[in-house]
């Protein structure tokens, strides 16, 4: 069991993920450089946040063509668990591994704050350690997190349970006031159809220790590791 943490030029959350994997969860892990052409030996892949390739043109648009992404796409198509947070979510959308896209926040401002997200679907491998409707308190830190998908795609995602998390109040109400970026239907996290690829804007790696103010990110780590173990 070994977790691969992808690093592109401009990625910045990889050390935080590495710290949680090493010191909090205690699983073997390794960095995967964007020029690598293989992800052999890894059972789960993480795409951390940051500004891969400077986010030039569009967030994730250039990262998608990094050599390693062909191997990531193959790994995902074979059912391998892949989780993308923040910029990693944007890259997975650009790569076509997740539906939709992430646009400039409706406020046009960078948002760095704590949010609450409500678990909408707990039947995916990533979210199965959560209770139905469980509310997690996690930080966000992004300028481009406004989730968008065309209405037909969104409808299909709703039916298939691909909407995993919505921004909500601390007691789990989904309201416009707590939507930090203008995402459609307050969407904070989604999965692909098969459920093995997950993307979310919040940062679970920054909320995995009580010392840092929240341990709510931990279940997502444990869910994805369990998912890797089961394969």
């Amino acid at each position: 069991m070994r977790v691969g943490v992808l690093v592109f030029p401009g990625t910045w959350s990889h050390q935080d993920f590495a710290h949680v994997l090493e010191d909090v969860v205690g699983v073997p892990w390794g960095f995967v450089w964007h020029k690598d052409t293989s992800v052999a030996g890894y059972d789960c892949l993480i795409l951390p946040g940051g500004f891969a390739h400077g986010d030039y043109l569009r967030c994730g648009a250039i990262a998608r063509f990094s050599p390693v992404m062909e191997a990531v796409v193959r790994f995902a198509r074979d059912g391998g668990p892949v989780i993308g947070s923040c910029n990693g979510f944007q890259i997975l959308c650009e790569a076509g591994l997740l539906p939709g896209a992430l646009l400039r926040n409706v406020s046009l401002q960078y948002r760095c704050q704590w949010v609450h997200i409500r678990t909408e679907n707990r039947t995916t491998p990533f979210t199965r350690t959560l209770a139905p409707g469980q509310v997690l308190r996690l930080p966000i830190s992004h300028g481009e997190g406004r989730y968008y998908a065309v209405p037909e795609t969104l409808g299909a995602m709703r039916e298939r349970g691909q909407i995993l998390f919505r921004y909500a109040t601390a007691d789990g109400r989904v309201t416009a006031e707590v939507n930090p970026n203008g995402s459609l239907e307050n969407i904070a996290g989604v999965s692909n159809e098969a459920g093995n690829v997950v993307g979310l804007m919040p940062h679970p790696e920054r909320a995995a220790e009580a010392l840092l103010g929240s341990e709510d990110g931990l279940p997502l780590f444990l869910g994805s590791l369990g998912c890797a173990l089961k394969r």
């Binding site: 043109l57 650009e94 896209a101 046009l108 968008y148 998908a149």
Partner: protein, 84 residues
């Protein structure tokens, strides 16, 4: 040599807060006649290709694969002859 001028904007169905903000700025300046504003990207490419039909095919593919994201954006382009 051919120069390709490419315009990329958010689709009509996608909210463009930048465009909205610029519009209200123009209104504040007294340009009340501005009914809509969309902010996009303008890219200029110089191509070694000289055949307009082949250049068109190439730029179309570039837009589809990288320069625009079809989920949220639309694009159009035009060419002009430039001295090599």
């Amino acid at each position: 040599m051919l120069e390709a001028q490419i315009f990329v904007t958010l689709k009509r169905s996608v909210l463009d807060p930048q465009g909205e903000t610029v519009k209200s700025g123009l209104h504040s300046l007294g340009f009340g006649g501005v009914e809509d504003c969309r902010v996009g990207k303008f890219m200029v490419l110089r191509l070694s290709e000289t055949d307009p039909e082949r250049a068109k095919g190439q730029v179309e593919e570039m837009c589809r694969k990288l320069l625009a994201n079809p989920v949220i954006e639309e694009y159009r382009f035009q060419f002009r002859e430039v001295a090599g």
